[in-house]
Symmetry: C2
Subunit: 192 residues, 2 copies
C-alpha cells in the first residue's frame, strides 16, 4: 500500500482533491515537470491554468498532458499553459479559483540556480489569495534544503501567522522527526 | 462544499482512509461519542476495535453503530467495543493493525475532569506503535485548550521528535494563524 504520510506530493494532492469539482477553476502556479498539472487535469476541473517561468517546463508539461490524452483539452483551452512568472497569474486568470498549487524550488533535473525566491513567491501567493473563492484552497509545497528555500519557507510561515483568522485559515504540515529538511506543506484557505 | 482544512476531525479521517482496506484491522483508541468509530466502520475494515475508559462512551458508540446498520458486525465480532483504558489495548488486540485513531481530551458533553493525560497517552501511543504494521498509521488529534491537553500535546511532540527516522515517519499538522489553541493532528507511520 502507498504510505501517504511519507509522500509529500501525494499527500498534498490528496488533501486538495475534495476541493476540485467539475465547475472548478484551478491553477498549477509552478508546473515544473508537469506531475501536479497532470494530477489536477485528472481531477476534471472546468478550467486548469498552468504557469512556469521556464519554457522547458511548459514543453515537458505539455508533452506529459498530451501523452495522457489531454491534447483536446489543450486545443479547446480547458487547459491553458503559459510561460510566465507565477506572480503574474492575475494577468491571465480572472475568474475566482478553487485551488492553487505551488511546488516551490527549482525544476527537477534543470538549472538549480533558477529557483523560486521568497519575495516573488510571497507576491504570487498573495495574487492567488486575491483570486481565491470562499472555501478555496492554496497548497504550497516548500523545500528548505537549499538556502533560498529556507528563507522562502520562513517568509511564508511568518506571512501565514499574520493572516486574519476571521478571513483565512492556515494549516502547516511539518515532519518532526525528519532531520534533513524534508519538504513541508502550507495550506491557506479562504473563510469569507 | 466542505472545507477540509478547517475541519480537523474530517481532515484526519480523510488522511487515514487510504490506509484502510477490506483486510485491515483498525482501532479507535478513544471512541468517545462514536463519531470516529462510525467513520472507521464505514471504511469496511476486516476488524474494528473501539476502546473507551467510560461506560457512557461505549453505550453511546454502540447505539450510534446500531442506528447505522452495524448490529450484525457487532454480533459477529467484526466490531469489538470494550470499556478499557487505551493504554491496555494490547491485552485485547494481537494482530498487526493498519490504523489507530486517538481523539484526545474529554468526552464531549461528559465530565471534563475525566480527560486523557500525557503519561498514559504516551503509553497508549507506544502500545499502538508495537501493534502497527509496516506502512500502518497512527493518527492523534490533540486538544491544547485545557491544561492537561497542553501538557499532553507537548509530551507527544517531544516524543515524536525523538523517533528514529529510519523506522518511523511523523507528520504534524498545526494551524499557524489560529490563536485559540485549535485542535491539531500528529501522525506516526511505521517505515519498517
Amino acid at each position: 500500500m502507498a504510505n501517504l504520510i511519507r509522500q509529500t506530493t501525494e499527500l498534498a494532492l490528496h488533501i486538495v482533491r475534495p476541493y476540485v469539482t467539475p465547475d472548478s477553476t484551478v491553477i498549477d502556479a509552478t508546473c515544473g515537470n508537469g506531475h501536479d498539472t497532470l494530477a489536477l487535469a485528472q481531477m476534471n476541473p472546468a478550467k486548469l491554468y498552468a504557469f512556469d517561468i521556464q519554457e522547458d517546463a511548459i514543453r515537458t508539461t505539455t508533452a506529459l498532458l498530451e501523452a495522457n490524452g489531454y491534447s483536446k483539452s489543450i486545443a479547446e483551452r480547458r487547459i491553458i499553459l503559459r510561460c510566465a512568472a507565477h506572480e503574474e497569474m492575475r494577468k491571465y486568470v480572472s475568474s475566482p479559483v478553487n485551488a492553487v498549487l505551488f511546488n516551490l524550488g527549482y525544476l527537477p533535473g534543470g538549472d538549480k540556480e533558477i529557483t523560486t525566491k521568497a519575495a516573488s513567491t510571497l507576491i504570487a501567493v498573495q495574487a492567488a489569495m486575491e483570486l481565491l473563492e470562499t472555501d478555496g484552497v492554496i497548497c504550497i509545497t516548500m523545500y528548505s534544503g537549499h538556502d533560498a528555500g529556507k528563507e522562502e519557507k520562513a517568509a511564508l510561515l511568518n506571512f501565514a501567522e499574520t493572516l486574519d483568522a476571521k478571513l483565512w485559515h492556515t494549516a502547516y504540515i511539518s515532519m518532526p522527526n525528519q532531520k534533513h529538511n524534508p519538504p513541508e506543506i502550507l495550506f491557506i484557505t479562504r473563510k469569507a
